[in-house]
């Protein structure tokens, strides 16, 4: 297809070549096609969030359902000043999210580079690399907790003993590190997929030309591959952050936030406040705080995605 005819048909797609009446009719048809999904999303996600904001201003415990009072900002004040767990949960959330995203990106980059070469069985290698992301998170958490990280019968400690390292009860002694390991195992494949797509969109001719010019492998990676991957790294980092901030399954299945509250992140804290303490007001205030923190990250993500959708 010539460039000119393509431009014409693209213009045609934006404004269908129909008379005015037809265009108007199309416009309303478009609205009725979009409306059900929009209304559904508003009812199931947006309105409940407004309710969360409202609940966060109430003193309301489900254990005393008849005693609901307006509390102003008391819940927020309690969370920020009195609640001993909030700040450590916030720090844990930041460490878990930031650490996991960075480690998963570094490993994902390595995996992608390994899969981006041709050798016998590359398809099988690629399939093995992506599998951890597909495993049901509660199952992988239980597998790691028992068969791999158990201090007596686990494979990891067995291997450590082979090289005369002391036995470590990972989930008791270093709970956040152990959970981060499980999370990275799951998310490095995700990063690999995104970065591999980026690498494969880099023209082989450019790498070839660089090699002809005598550029070393490391230089090629540093000055040609990495800059090209920039947008993909950002996309992976931001999607990964949005998902890992919500991490809940692995904590519930391994440490239940413990020992003490040493591996409690904000989602797990909210779950406990909502369903064990049954404090609607406090859980809602915490929920609003998490949403605000996420919005800050998402603002940035949306800009990246916009550049990606406009770039093609």
């Amino acid at each position: 297809m010539t460039t000119q005819s393509r431009a014409l048909t693209l213009a045609g797609r934006r404004a269908p070549p129909l008379p005015l009446v037809g265009a108007l009719r199309n416009w309303s048809v478009g609205k009725s096609l979009v409306a059900p999904a929009v209304i559904y999303a508003i009812i199931v996600t947006q309105l409940p969030f407004l309710l969360t904001v409202w609940y966060s201003l109430l003193r309301w415990n489900l254990l005393r359902p008849d005693n609901v009072q307006f509390a102003g900002l008391d819940n927020y004040l309690f969370v920020v000043t009195t609640d001993p767990v909030f700040w450590s949960a916030l720090v844990n959330t930041v460490i878990l999210t930031g650490g996991s995203v960075i480690l998963a990106l570094v490993l994902g980059l390595l995996f992608a580079e390994l899969v981006n070469h041709r050798y016998p069985g590359r398809g099988i290698v690629r399939t093995m690399f992506i599998t951890p992301f597909l495993i049901m998170p509660v199952v992988s958490a239980l597998t790691w907790k028992n068969m791999l990280l158990n201090p007596v019968f686990g494979v990891v400690d067995y291997l450590m003993q082979l090289v005369h390292l002391p036995a470590v009860d990972w989930l008791a002694q270093f709970p956040l590190t152990a959970i981060m390991g499980i999370v990275v195992w799951r998310w490095a494949p995700f990063m690999m997929l995104i970065l591999l797509a980026g690498m494969q969109s880099l023209s082989e001719e450019i790498r070839e030309a660089a090699r002809v010019d005598g550029v070393s492998g490391i230089q090629e990676f540093r000055y040609i591959v990495l800059p090209h991957l920039n947008r993909f790294i950002q996309l992976g980092a931001l999607l990964g952050s949005v998902y890992i901030v919500q991490e809940f399954d692995s904590i519930y299945m391994t440490t239940q936030g413990g020992p003490g509250t040493s591996s409690t992140n904000l989602p797990f804290l909210i779950y406990q406040v909502a369903f064990a303490k049954k404090d609607v007001g406090e859980a809602s205030a915490l929920g609003v705080i998490v949403v605000i923190l996420t919005i800050l990250a998402v603002q940035y993500l949306l800009r990246v995605l916009t550049s990606l959708t406009e770039g093609d």
Binding site: R6, G12, R13, W27, V29, G30, L33, V34, P36, A37, V38, Y40, A41, V44, T45, Q46, P48, F49, L51, T52, H117, R118, Y119, P120, R122, T127, T131, P132, L134, I135, M136, P137, V139, S140, L142, T143, N146, M147, F153, P189, I194, A197, G198, E204, E208, L235, V245, Q246, D249, Y252, I270, Y271, A274, G287, V290, L301, L302, L305, T306, T309
Partner: protein, 295 residues
Amino acid sequence: MAMRQTAGLGVERAPIGIAIVAWVIALILFFPVLYLVATSLKTEAAAVLLPPTFIPLPGLNLAPTEMPPFTFSPTFEQYQTILDRGFGPFFLRSVAAVVGSGILVLLLAVPCAYALAFRMIEGWRDTLFFFISTKFLPPVGIIVPIYIIMRDLQLLDNLLALVIMYTAMNLPIAIWMLRSFFEEVPPDVIQAAQVDGADVLTQMTRIILPMVAPGLTATMFIGMIFAWNEFFFAVSLTATRAATVPMFMIGFVTSEGLFWAKLAAAGTMAMLPVVLVGWSAQRQLVRGLSLGAVK
């Protein structure tokens, strides 16, 4: 050079070192999965044996400790035990939640993505970003009112509650993904249909949908992966009657005694559907995970 390009994506044939490193790292990364499946085929006594055994060797009637290195004698008794413990209904409820939400997602997302892809409304871009913003709303930001609303509607411990939430969860992904598939339909096709005087419904169902059928399948697969593995809404909104497969796994959090082989059998059955779907949809996976942004 020309040959190298037609030989497929990727850099030229790798030095043997890279191939070995790739295989070793892949095997290490895959080992937990392999070990899970292997353990599901052991007796409880064999499951805790070290050094780890992961090669099934049938036909040898030996005690677990007398087997050749790294081998064990396979048995299906753990699967029988798990099925006897009532795994089946959990599995069927998971299927129902996935299928139910999958149908709802398709009904809502296909028309919407169609209208957005072909710019049938003003503000199509804002609408797209509205959907993505709902995806990035953390579940903990709405779980309290959702719980209370479901309680008031008598939908707690009811599969319908999960269907409703999983639909909302997968709707933005589906719309973004489907949009990217619709946009690949050659504009000529749409114009030709319009010239023929086909109305929107005919255009959509007769002409465009068959062309994006692979995309529809991929979208369903991605949604299935997320819905099947979902745990937070399940543990918050269900207890027994509507409990799905991840809820069955809770039984192993505080188990006492020897239970690893049973845990592994349940875990293998729990993860297998999504692993198989994910393997078969590998090429579309990245597109779904990046919301259609990366092809």
